[in-house]
């Protein structure tokens, strides 16, 4: 209500500084007193003159003020952070907000300002920060109080006495709590997770499962761990006790571990029963074993490629002199050594990340057991690359050794010798090894690559044919064997590209990508679903060798809502999409078979650390400010205006302070002794006085 009142008063506004005025008054008083005492003629007149003069100097005025009283301001804080989305908290919050706003409207001289507390990323609920900003715009004398609708999980509550006193702005702070009293919540908390791990070793992730709000002590609980889409593994652990999980880092790039604890009966939310740990696998150094056959013009292509990379430790094995060419040169004049084959092919074989055979013919150099070791190495998860020439045909072919079992294609005995240009096949266009190679063949056009002149014919290849030679015959084959991978290049001519024959070609790119695919680099997975965070957006990419339009993804937000996301075809075998990540925490995406995670902000944000509704965090501020705590599940409180010195809470109601602040809207100012009147009076009286004195 707009209360306007008028107040009048007389005010003095001396024209002289007070001491001087007093001195003048005294002087006049003494002079007049002396005159009266001596009964001087005209003394009364003199006294009148002095009095009028003093009065004129005192400058009396009639002041009339017009005042308007100001409405008080109350702040309504509405917590809309992610933890408020648990259960029916959002609906309760919304109902309470409408009711409070309605009731505030019916109170006179009260303005209600509603402030929404949004998600603050990894920082949790910053309710007092929002309040501080709102209070900065409210004049101190007009704050009637603060009402906060929240689950009470506030992460910036003040802790020092002074800050607690300041937080409420000197008015009651009332807490209206969503949720219920005595809620329980089970959570998985990651205590320690290294962000990086060396490929081939394990890292340790320490975590604890805690039951909040329960009276009991340690209890058994089943946890489930999922890693990169592998079958889930379960373990039984005790609550409240740190548990260590060993995570083997099997490949470079991200390894995502998801840990989920079984639900606690009656717990408020399952959101924090899950924790996600992302560990970046880095390769220490790449260990590559290159086994080459007779020295030929192409051998150095491999060495130039592998030796130029400072991250590669190359062990190169070749036979410079076969046993039958021994010319009895004394050993002291030869640089040839007996290669430590047993150490390489038996003892240390599994330490290699990749084995390359380049035109190797087994002329009794490696015993079958060593080749069997290599086959086992591949089945057990190793990578094998073969570049074969004419030696692949005939009795010394590696296909006729125990290694043949893991090779994807058998030689037919034919060797094609004619110029041709390699082509990327249709599957190859979608495969990470050969997709989008510079200069590759388009729908009709030939590839802009140099010619090759020899191809080894094979029958019935397994796996994927990525490149083809004349007549569409297989040229490059990629296959999976057991846990491992094999790539077979059916020509010994790729070196012509590195020598830039006929324009050259992308040999470095193909060999590099093939090597990384063989080593299971996630960047080169042919069936892959990945998500990454880019600012506030999540960017999804899906790769697949399958033809046809990509399926839609199911996206699950950190707070558990699901929605569908359509993918857009980006190129052969590649599809993608992006969307706004409007919540912190771990987003899960799946195309039905593959699962991807994207952690926005901290992977396990504070917001979900404890999902119980609690009064405790804000309790000191409530108590210090004299506010009330109301569980909305019990009742919705009445609003009352109370005088500043009265209690601001009672059963069923909360109070807002009445400040009676006002502004002066107008001042009327009337001088009571105008100078002209004073002049007339003084001069008139003085003249009469002089006349009386002169008589």
């Amino acid at each position: 209500m707009d209360g306007t009142r008028t107040l009048a008063s007389v005010a003095f506004d001396p024209l002289l500084p007070t001491p001087l005025f007093v001195a003048l008054g005294l002087l006049a008083g003494i002079a007049v007193g002396l005159a009266l005492w001596r009964r001087a003629r005209g003394a009364w007149l003199r006294a009148f003159v002095a009095a009028v003069l003093l009065l004129a100097l005192a400058n009396p005025r009639l002041v009339q003020e017009t005042r308007r009283s100001l409405p008080d301001v109350a702040v309504l804080l509405v917590d809309q952070t992610a933890s408020q989305r648990v259960g029916d908290r959002m609906a309760v919050t919304e109902a309470a907000r409408r009711a409070i706003e309605d009731r505030a409207r019916s109170l006179d001289a009260l303005e209600l300002r509603t402030v929404v507390v949004p998600d603050a990323g990894a920082n949790g609920t910053r309710l007092f920060e929002a309040l501080g900003r709102a209070l900065a715009e409210v004049p101190r004398g007009r704050l009637a109080g603060t009402i906060a609708i929240t689950d009470g999980q506030i992460h910036d509550a003040p802790e020092e006495a002074e800050a607690i006193a300041r937080a409420s702005g000197g008015a009651p702070f009332h807490l209206l709590l969503t949720g219920r009293r005595g809620e329980t919540d089970r959570r998985v908390r990651v205590l320690d997770a290294p962000p990086f791990g060396i490929v081939g070793r394990s890292v340790e992730v320490r975590l604890v499962v805690e039951d909040l709000g329960t009276a009991g002590g340690a209890d058994g609980v089943t946890i489930t761990q999922r890693r990169d889409g592998e079958p889930p593994r379960q373990a039984r652990i005790r609550t409240g006790e740190a548990h260590t999980i060993r995570v083997p880092i099997e490949r470079a790039g991200q390894t995502v571990l998801e840990i989920e604890a079984e639900p606690l009966a009656g717990e408020v939310s399952l959101l924090n029963n899950r924790a996600v740990v992302a560990i970046n696998g880095v390769r220490d150094r790449l260990r590559v074993l290159l086994v080459s056959g007779e020295p030929h013009a192409g051998q150095r292509t491999w060495r130039r490629l592998l030796k130029a990379d400072p991250n590669v430790d190359l062990v190169h094995f070749t036979i410079l002199r076969p046993p039958e060419k021994d010319d009895l040169t004394p050993l002291s004049e030869l640089a040839l050594i007996a290669f430590p084959v047993r150490e390489l092919f038996q003892v240390k074989l599994r330490e290699f990340d990749l084995i390359i055979f380049d035109r190797f013919a087994n002329r009794g150099i490696l015993p079958p057991s060593y080749l069997r070791n290599i086959a086992e190495y591949v089945r057990g998860g190793g990578g094998l690359f073969l570049s074969v020439g004419p030696e692949y045909v005939g009795p010394v072919s590696l296909f006729n050794t125990p290694l043949g079992q893991v090779l994807p294609a058998s030689p037919t005995g034919r060797i094609g010798e004619a110029p041709f240009r390699a082509r990327v096949t249709e599957v190859g266009m979608r495969h990470p090894i050969t997709a989008a190679l510079p200069g590759a063949n388009a729908a009709e056009a030939e590839a802009a690559w140099g010619r090759w002149y020899r191809r080894i014919d094979v029958a019935a290849p397994r796996g994927q044919v990525l490149m083809s030679g004349p007549g569409g015959e297989p040229l490059l084959i990629a296959d999976r064997v057991g846990e491992g991978r094999v790539a077979l290049l059916l020509s010994d001519q790729i070196w012509l590209w590195s020598r830039n024959h006929d324009g050259g070609g992308p040999q470095a790119e193909i060999l590099r990508r093939a090597a990384h695919w063989l080593m299971k680099e996630p960047d080169l997975e042919e069936e892959d679903l990945r998500a990454r965070v880019d600012g506030e957006r999540i960017v999804v990419e899906r790769r697949s060798l399958a033809e046809g339009p990509p399926p839609s993804l199911t996206v699950t937000s950190p707070s558990g809502e699901t929605r569908m996301l359509a993918l857009e075809q980006l190129g052969p075998g590649r599809a993608g999409a992006e969307f706004m990540a409007d919540q912190p925490g771990v987003w899960r995406l799946t195309d039905g078979s593959r699962l991807a995670f994207a952690a926005v902000g901290a992977g396990n944000p504070r917001e979900f650390l404890d999902l119980r509704a609690l009064a405790e965090p804000a309790l000191p501020v409530v108590q210090r400010s004299g506010g009330g705590i109301v569980w909305l599940a019990d009742q919705l409180p009445e609003l009352r205006r109370v005088a500043a010195d009265r209690p601001a809470r009672g059963p069923g109601w909360i109070g807002l302070k009445r400040n009676r602040d006002h502004v002066v809207t107008g001042v009327a100012d009337l001088p009571l002794m105008p100078p002209w009147a004073a002049l007339v009076l003084i001069l008139g009286a003085a003249v009469v006085a002089w006349r009386r004195e002169g008589q």
Partner: protein, 280 residues
């Protein structure tokens, strides 16, 4: 006044005379024409043959005698390599840089003669690409030791021939260089003559497996390697002896192995055993 000033300025800077290129162009055009007419038109390297087999090559100098020695030398070396190592080389070829596709060859033997023509622009481009893509050029000035005077003017010719080529900074082959242990253990690299200094790239280029793109020597290796139709060595070694020729062949083998397997013998795995054998 300003125009006058400008004209005076131009005159002072000598820009008022007829543009020089117009006058220089005529002889250049004639020279270019002569090059095209004089050069043989057809290339002799057949890609089907060259791509399928590994073989050595020499640069055709235009001097029939020198080219004959080069061919006989590489034939002799090829035979030696095939009999004693795992490599199987095909018959060597003579090539003309700029005309023939050099990309098939790991190694180019280039005897330096005083009167051979300098490589033209296309040849320089082809030779630089050859070295950049991993090939090795072996220059042989054939004037070391007692051979001095046999090939007068070779050093000057070498400078002339390599003008425009991307020759890296060189230094004498160090005692631990892979050329000294690529197959045989060698301490010097004799040819028909002995005593010539052999040079290789000073700084190792990791992108090229630390292989020197150029080897420069003066011992007339081709003459020492050469065999005639009857399988004899037509050129006597100086000062002589079977040992000198054997060592010349051994150097040839090391050179071929260096070209085919690069720095293989420089790999760490070989070093300890070789050091032991060297008694160090």
């Amino acid at each position: 006044m300003l125009s006058l000033d400008l004209l005076i300025a131009l005159w002072l800077r000598g820009l008022l005379r007829a543009p020089a290129p117009a006058r220089a162009a005529a002889p250049a055009a004639i020279a270019l024409f002569l090059v095209f007419v004089a050069a043989p038109v057809s290339a002799q390297v057949d890609p089907m043959r060259a791509a399928l087999e590994t073989r050595l090559a020499f640069v055709v100098t235009g001097s029939p005698e020198v080219d004959r020695v080069s061919r006989a030398g590489l034939v002799g070396l090829t035979d030696f390599v095939n009999r004693r190592t795992a490599a199987n080389l095909a018959e060597p070829l003579g090539v003309r840089p700029g005309l023939d596709d050099l990309s098939f060859f790991p190694l180019l033997y280039w005897p330096v003669t005083a009167d051979q023509a300098s490589p033209d622009e296309r040849a320089i481009e082809a030779l630089n690409a050859f070295m950049r893509d991993g090939g090795i050029i072996v220059f042989d000035t054939r004037d070391a030791g007692l051979g001095r005077g046999m090939n007068a003017g070779a050093s000057a010719a070498l400078q002339r021939l390599t003008r425009g080529l991307a020759i890296p900074e060189l230094h004498p082959v160090p005692a631990d260089h892979v050329l000294t242990r690529a197959f045989y253990l060698l301490s010097d690299f004799p040819g028909r003559y002995v005593g010539g200094q052999t040079w290789v790239q000073r700084h190792e280029d990791r992108a090229n497996d630390s292989v020197s793109p150029v080897v420069i020597g003066a011992n007339d290796w081709a003459a020492a390697w050469a065999v005639d139709e009857a399988g004899r060595n037509p050129y006597a070694t100086v000062p002589g002896g079977a040992r000198q020729r054997l060592l010349a062949y051994r150097f040839g083998v090391n050179l071929v192995m260096y070209a085919l397997t690069g720095n293989y013998k420089g790999d760490q795995v070989h070093v300890p055993i070789i050091l032991e054998r060297l008694g160090q």
